[in-house]
Amino acid sequence: MKITEQEVRYVAGLANLSLTQEEVAKLRADLDEILTHIDKLNEVDTSQVEPMAQVLFAREETATLRADREKPPLGARLALANAPEGGPEYFKVPKVIER
């Protein structure tokens, strides 16, 4: 077994996901199967290979930064328009309780 229900709950905590007991059991089985497939990667010798973070990272086509010019921003009203709860210049959230 690659992963336990306890680990699933721990990872769900890291990911800020509430899960039902049913979901925990199903995810454990799914992740177990997928991680077992992923073990295939251990067959590959990558000792001489550099990791590739992004496909064209080193290419000159994309390696250029744009000019640093001032541009009008979106503005608070528009940026906040989709907030479930907000005031004129802020997002509103439940109170934060120290653990």
Partner: protein, 484 residues
Amino acid sequence: MIDPSLDLRSLSVDRIRQDLASRRYSAVELITESLRFAESANSWTNAYLHFCHYRALAAAQRVDQKLHQGEDPGPLAGVPIAVKDVILTRNVRTTCGSKLLENYIPPYDATAITRLEQAGGIIIGKTNCDEFAMGSSTENSAFGPVRNPVALERVPGGSSGGSAAAVAQGSAVLALGSDTGGSIRQPASFCGVAGVTPTYGRVSRYGLVAFASSLDHIGPFAKSVRDAALLLGAIAGRDEMDSTSAFAPVPDYQEALTGDVKGVRIGLPREYFKNLASETGDLIARGVETLGKLGCEVREISMPATEYAIASYYIICTAEASSNLARYDGVRYTTRSSSSETLSDMYRNTRGEGFGAECKRRIMLGTYVLSAGYYDAYYLKAQKVRALVARDFSNAFQEVDAIVAPVSPFPAFKLGEKIDDPLAMYLSDIYTITGSLAGVPCMSVPCGATAAGLPVGMQILTRHFDEAGMFRIADAFERANGAK
């Protein structure tokens, strides 16, 4: 009034341009009719999540005005276009197929949208898709699955299933989709239309809701290679708003469609064909034969890292997804769980109630592979294997000009048939994932149908930024195949 004998399904970009010029109908008339057809067809396919009548008719009016004043209305003038609902449209709801964004109204347009409208294109509606583009069947949409217009009891593929279905049913002449591991090519294959994943960086991702940033692409769907090339030409090119968008000049793709592919060297990766039996294999083999008759030089090549591509892809894409989807926390984006007293409960409950099963699975896998102690074993290892997959392509392109491959191991499957087996669903992405990892341009071109009438697409892949070469082969093939 529009001529009742006009079949919307027969329209192409060129045909619309001629009809508008000869005043056969106005852009407003065409768009009104397209919207009517799209809405009625939606009751059987569920391809669209919402329509944008006001925006579409206003854009059509602008096209008519330009025509009236003798101005150039643009290369896509009056063409009805469907857009996958992961691409932001200002003031038009964009849900990503998720309950979490059910009421999200974007404050700006994606660059691809801006360019498409500048070219005279008309967005008629937003198309259904797997939630946050995660899936291969469009069954993961929070708003119900899409049905394949070719065979209603079957899936249209995914995740851009709605866009593929919209073009296949004829309610839109063109559509935009997004592709992370095959989400344009596979539904194109299942629905019998052309679908293009351009080079990574060819089209700006500004305004494309992020799934896996190092793999995400925007690309076109169309009934013909020519129309797909026209749409890509309109949206491609450097954009200041996306630092990964490429500076490479965008050629006139129409000029590439010469029909002449004599001497083009085509590689068939033996790893792609060794387990490919059945009708799909036969159809691709016949497609390759056609290319040979057109004068292509076909040879077998080897891409040894292929068998590790799925594992590498599902680590990288879920890792990137888990961080990209962290933003849906109940603070900024429309939906918040009502039953939470503390901030951390609010985060957890909003996400737990809001995300569907596939998104949760990927967030969990991505969080796991990035968590302390596992980073090197999974994420770093996957990035190294990705480099090997990319090396396979650069080696292959030293000896051939293009690679031809299947798109999917099978044609469209039945709704519900694979939804309970996530690993099997992931494994079916094998032929599309390699091109995504390497970032090369790739497309699905219709290649025939099975005895049961299910379409099968053939994949063509070329060097970085050589979409022109890819279109030339696909177009020549399409002409030869259609003329049979």
